[in-house]
C-alpha cells in the first residue's frame, strides 16, 4: 500500500480534471447531435436528444457551451504544448510510435508530439466551428448572412467537425492503448514507472523539482 502511494505522481489537478470532463461531455453531445444532422445514416441519433427538432435546437447551445469551457482548457495547457525540435523527430518516427517501440523515440516532456498536435488542431478547429456554427444557427443568425456565406460555412463546419471527431477518436484510443493513462484524468495521478516510460523528460523535471 505505502509503496504504490509513494510511487504516484500528480499529473492533473482537480480543476484540470473537471475542466477536461465538462468539455468531454459537451463534446460527446455536440458530436452525436451534429452527426445526426450531418448524415441520414446517423439520423437515428436524434432519438438520444428527444427527436429531430430538439436535436436541431440543442446542438448549437451545446456547441457554444463546449467552446466556452474549452477556453479554460486552452489556457491551462497552452504552455506545456509548445512544439519543439524533438517533437518533429517524434513525428518522423511515427512507425516506432504505433509499433510500441518507445525506446527509439526522443525523450518526451509532459506531452508527446501527437498530444500537442491534437491540442493545436483543437485550438484552431473550435473557433472555426463556433464562427461557422453561428452562420448556420437557425432561426436566429442565418438570416443575417448571404447564401454564399451560409453554404461556405456549412462545408467548413462539416470539415472542421470531422477533423475534431477523428482527433478525439484517436485521443480516446490512445488512452485505452497506452495502459495507465486513463487514471491521469480520472484520479489525477500516474505511476512513476508510467511517467518514466512515456514522459521521461517530464519525469526528470518533476523529480528534480521534488528534490
Amino acid at each position: 500500500m505505502m509503496r504504490t502511494e509513494s510511487a504516484l505522481i500528480q499529473r492533473y489537478t482537480r480543476s484540470d480534471r473537471v475542466n477536461h470532463w465538462v468539455v468531454a461531455i459537451t463534446f460527446i453531445l455536440a458530436a452525436l447531435s451534429g452527426l445526426a444532422l450531418f448524415d441520414p445514416i446517423f439520423f437515428w441519433l436524434t432519438n438520444l436528444f428527444g427527436g429531430g427538432p430538439w436535436t436541431r435546437i440543442l446542438h448549437p447551445y451545446v456547441g457554444l457551451l463546449m467552446f466556452i469551457l474549452f477556453i479554460g482548457m486552452a489556457i491551462r495547457f497552452w504552455y506545456s504544448n509548445r512544439l519543439t525540435a524533438a517533437d518533429r523527430q517524434w513525428m518522423k518516427q511515427w512507425r516506432d510510435v504505433i509499433g510500441n517501440h518507445e525506446e527509439n523515440l526522443p525523450q518526451v516532456g509532459k506531452y508527446n508530439a501527437g498530444q500537442k498536435y491534437v491540442f493545436w488542431a483543437l485550438v484552431i478547429a473550435l473557433p472555426l466551428l463556433l464562427l461557422t456554427g453561428f452562420v448556420m444557427w437557425q432561426p436566429w443568425f442565418t438570416p443575417y448572412f448571404s447564401i454564399g456565406w451560409v453554404r461556405l460555412a456549412t462545408v467548413v463546419h462539416a470539415l472542421a467537425a470531422f477533423c475534431v471527431i477523428v482527433l478525439i477518436m484517436v485521443h480516446i484510443y490512445a488512452a485505452i492503448w497506452v495502459k495507465g493513462s486513463v487514471r491521469a484524468m480520472t484520479r489525477g495521478t500516474v505511476t512513476a514507472a508510467w511517467a518514466k516510460q512515456h514522459h521521461a523528460a517530464w519525469h526528470n523535471e518533476i523529480s528534480k523539482g521534488a528534490k
Partner: protein, 288 residues
Amino acid sequence: MALQSLDIKARSATTTPSPAVRETLKVAKLIDVSKCIGCKACQVACMEWNDVRDKIGTNVGVYDNPPDLTEDSWTVMRFSEVEVQPGKLEWLIRKDGCMHCADPGCLKACPSPGAIVQYSNGIVDFHEENCIGCGYCITGCPFNIPRISKKDGKAYKCSLCSDRVAVGLEPACVKTCPTGAIVFGSKDDMMRHADLRIIDLKQRGYGNAGLYDPPGVGGTHVMYVLQHADMPEIYHGLPKNPTISPMVSLWKGIAKPLMSWGLGLVALAGFFHYVTVGPNEVKEEEET
C-alpha cells in the same frame, strides 16, 4: 403538405425505395410573363386555398406586396422596371415561387427522413410534420424559395397545390388567373403550349422570346415564357443557369459519404491496432 401518397419518386434522407407503385403523369405549371398584368389574384388564391394569412405589412416603395416570400406567402409578384432598349421601358412582372426542380437542391440537402418528397408527377413537397427546422433546404435551394416560420420553426413553400393536383384539379393560382397567364397540364403539353406562345411573341417583335426550363436543375415543373429569355436576370434576378451550388454538392455529395466512411475506418483501425500490435504497457517493474 399533402396526404399519404403512393407515387413518391424521391424522399429526403432516405436510401431505400419509397412507396412508388403508382406512376403519375409529369405535370407542369407554365407562367407566361408576357400575359401577366400583376393583379396578384394568384397570391390571393394561394393564401385562400392553403388557408394561410400573412401579416399586414407596409409599402416599401415598390409594387411587390408582400416585399418577399414568407412562410405564409408562397408566391409573390416581382415587379421589375427595365429598359431593355434605351428609352423603351418595360414592366416585367414575374410570379415568384418554388420552381419544383427535377433535381431539387432542397431535397438533396434535407437531413430529416421524409420532410421533403418528390412525387412522380414532379411536384416537390414539404411534409412539415417531419421538418426539424435546420434550414438546410434554404442552403440547398438555387432559387431562394423556402422560408422558416417564426411561429413553429418549420420550412414552408409552394406545394404546387399537390393536394388539388392529386385529385385532378389545377393549382389554385392557375384556376384564378384572369388573363390565362398561368396554365397547368402535363409537362409535354405545357412545352407545346409554350412553343406556340413563343412563336406569337417572336412575331410581335420579341426576337429573344423563349422558354425558361433550366437544364442545370434537370428542368423544372414550373416554367416561364419570357419575352427576353436571353436575359432571365432582368426578371428580378431569375438565375440564368441555376444549378445546385458546388458547395452543396461538395457537402452532401462528397464530404458526407467520405467523412462517414472515414469515421468508421478510424474506429476499425483503432480496434485492429489493439488486437494486432496490442496495448502499450508499462514495462519497468514499479520501484519504491
